[in-house]
Symmetry: C2
Subunit: 320 residues, 2 copies
């Protein structure tokens, strides 16, 4: 890592960052990205030091055509062996399809919304029905020796219902943990989290879920994404999801940004002296590359500003 | 304030937010904004509940032509009587000019850079020379019954020198406090602060400066602006500066964002249950208005996303 003299002395915290741009990001692009471009971008992400990437989704191609080439993408990948390839699986039909190519991935995300209205709007099932579905799918996943990662959407608020009680979210999480999930992700689906609530939430989540990995997924809808990540870190969270270029997320309201940018998250962690194992400059190059592929400016900050320059070299070069 | 059920229960913290867009923002616009527009925008800010606005600067008009109409702007303002009108004064000539219209403002910002190289690049004086100048100016300011607010730029890092020792910054701050400054502002001039360092910095600043108000001024260069504000708040800081629409700041590297957006900062505080006294919707309207005046999209998030909707009304309206 670079010379970062203002970092926390003696901070030896290590965090895991999962890149979700190739699924959560590419899915939300108005124009479908060419399969070859997707493969190249994901392979580039594999050279950053990232050890977890969400690479595809087994959704219905008529519903999300942007990801209909999932199996082709999986087949085309050339990633280091220590990179965990995660896929999103929305239902048992998707799981059937995924298991046809079981060797192509390592971990599966199965999800529910904590809010009835959002779950209904999203997949037209009750939360109870979905919980039962997901637990059944989870047991199939586990029996195939695939990592079962459960995600709870609208964990910090629902755009239809408003408040989503912490008790309710953590009850669902415990139920997933008991059903074999080894990772529990909490999604701020429409960017309603704030750092004070996040701090309390992850303190309680860690207390109630001592046996599973607890993962934070924040959006940057009102610019609070990194504040929420910092609050979660301070409350003991050590696993985070983000998206290169700040791609993706749920663009509600229209025009708002989605996921926090991976390069901004990693930049913050490195400046604090928190280890991610990621080479920030290579990650920024990958984000610049996806910007080129999409042909538009993306919204992450570090893609413009670059890593913090603690040496003065940049200013000296500009002055020269 | 709105229905914010996820806010911190019992959080009764109150913070002060100073809007710096009319000085720090307007100064950095490539095209000078018409005087009448400035006056209208500042008067609109005066209707948000903001009680502190940096409204003008007594700089040389040939150096910063964007602010050459400062006196005209001050004369045109129609602000509530409880709004503190702050002006930036870079040198004793500026102070001479300011004192000609002493009745038009309430507080003066006088500044130094903690870093020799930055101070030299900025005003071509040593830090020691500038400290002596500013203290002499400060004593004139105090004798005119004007509030003396001292600002220390590059408090969290210097683009030329890298690290700026905390000791050095706080020594300068104590010297200003002893010279009569009642507010000490710490500026993250080129966006090098991180929340871990900010947390330690403001804990120490509050310990060493018990008699003065300590103010945080962060930039959002790498998206960490609100994370830094949250860290400062948690460390006891209760005074913040920000800029509507995320205007201004030091655009280094080129294209990076500057100050944190006032509406994003206020949105975060309100969601946490921290009181600012500001009407967020009126503030967002003011940011939208400056966007209209400048004729380009600004980078704050809340200007697009609006306040968090805890009622579901927005989604219901969109569905209907």
């Amino acid at each position: 890592m670079e010379n970062t003299p203002n970092q926390t002395p003696g901070d030896d915290r290590v965090v895991s960052v999962r890149e979700v741009g190739p699924r959560d990001g590419f899915q939300n692009e108005p124009e479908t990205i060419a399969t070859a471009d997707k493969i190249e971008l994901i392979n580039e992400l594999g050279r950053t030091g990232l050890t977890r990437i969400e690479v595809a989704s087994f959704v219905r191609p008529d519903v999300i055509p942007q990801l209909s080439d999932g199996v082709e993408v999986l087949r085309g990948l050339d990633l280091p062996t220590d990179v965990e390839r995660m896929v999103l699986i929305p239902n048992s039909k998707g799981l059937d399809n995924a298991l046809q190519v079981r060797e192509l991935f390592d971990a599966a995300t199965l999800f529910v919304s904590a809010s009835e209205s959002h779950n209904k709007a999203n997949i037209n099932r009750t939360v109870r029905q979905t919980m039962d579905d997901v637990k059944a799918m989870g047991s199939r996943v586990v029996s195939e020796d695939i990592k079962f990662s459960a995600v709870i959407a609208t964990s910090f608020g629902c755009p239809y219902e408003g408040k989503v009680p912490m008790e309710r979210v953590l009850d669902l999480a415990e139920e997933f943990a008991a059903a074999g999930a080894t990772e529990l992700g909490f999604g701020d689906t429409t960017g309603m989290a704030n750092p004070a609530y996040v701090s309390r939430f992850f303190s309680e989540a860690n207390r109630r879920l001592p046996e599973v990995e607890v993962t934070a997924h924040f959006h940057n809808t009102r610019g609070q994404g990194l504040a929420n990540a910092y609050a979660a870190l301070e409350a003991g969270c050590r696993s985070f999801e983000s998206s290169f270029g700040e791609l993706g997320g749920c663009p509600v309201p229209k025009g708002s940004t989605g996921n926090i940018g991976s390069e901004d998250l990693v930049s913050m962690f490195h400046e604090m002296g928190v280890d991610t194992g990621i080479d920030l400059e290579v990650l920024i190059a990958a984000a610049q590359r996806v910007q080129d592929v999409l042909g538009r400016k993306l919204t992450s900050h570090s893609i413009v500003a670059g890593p913090v320059d603690w040496t003065g070299a940049l200013m000296a070069a500009n002055a020269g």
